[in-house]
Symmetry: C2
DNA sequence: TTTCCTCTTGCAACTGAGTGTCAACAGTGT
DNA sequence: ACACTGTTGACACTCAGTTGCAAGAGGAAA
């Protein structure tokens, strides 16, 4: 996911405010959690982190804030190939889309940017006359470490 | 999704039997539903269709059979950008992977095959030394009919 | 600073997809 | 037909996410 250090802290908050949305104590908390996350977090993990800062925060507020951020295109929702049940994971939307690769053996999530991916998106827009808002490319398989000993 | 008419009827059943799995009445029913589906169906829809053929069939059996087919790589599971809640949709695994495009306005699902997509997968395998088992590329946006009048 | 409007929150109850357990059942090879 | 073993159906359960509503809190205007 985008390195926290390459991002301006408070960017999500600034974006929401510039859109005229109310900046509440709870939203600030949840935004800071999402913004400083070092892995992909699901809603329950975001709630746990947020409660370390503000123990009163409710899980409903987390869901609502994530929905808000998603609606405004500020975060992306990932499934990570449903490797850990049906939960969804979240990450700040990066400058450039990337691919998520999930190792079916060790569970590691890897990310990959590619010109071909960018070109593929361009082809879709042109050939299908489809205006792309969001993309999600997830790949399941075996990472270099696990591929030599893959199951069944 | 792959046109039913281009597929050998009973292919899924033949595949499962060749893998030494028991061919029960219920499995035959569910397989035929999946094989002849004309759109992407979720588990509940597959159950409903299956019950028209065999009213005794239980939803647990549908879930178990879908899991079996998925485990054997005979069907793919789709999220279709979570446009209709959290349900998952299923389709026979086609010869060649394709991209799913979901119109955020009218809900239409379109499919697209692309050499660039095939090349991208090759690049991932090479550059990341990642052995790909399954891919899912879903795109959300606005189709040609809806793009002129897209919301907010 | 205080007021007031409106949006947001927390709570509780709910929904709906999917899972685990276990006794009864039914394929399949002999 | 038998017996072994994998499969099914019923039921209760889990867990992510949603809804409705009264109370609370931004923040713009006075």
């Amino acid at each position: 996911m985008p390195f926290p250090q390459t991002e301006v802290p408070g960017r999500l908050q600034a974006e929401l405010m510039s859109r005229g949305l109310r900046m509440t104590r709870q939203r600030r908390t949840i935004l800071s959690v999402v913004e400083t996350a070092k892995q992909h977090l699901d809603a329950a993990q975001i709630l746990r982190h947020a409660r370390k800062i503000d123990p009163q925060i409710d899980r409903v507020t987390v869901y609502r804030t994530l929905a808000l951020l998603k609606r405004h295109g500020l975060i992306d929702e990932l499934d990570l190939m449903h490797m850990q049940g049906e939960k969804h994971f979240y990450e700040r939307r990066p400058q450039r889309d990337h691919i998520h690769m999930a190792c079916l053996r060790c569970g590691k999530i890897m990310e990959f940017e590619s010109d071909l991916f960018d070109r593929l998106k361009g082809q879709i827009q042109r050939d299908c006359q489809f205006h792309i808002v969001v993309t999600r490319l997830e790949v399941g398989g075996y990472c270099s470490r696990c591929r030599t000993a893959k199951p069944d």
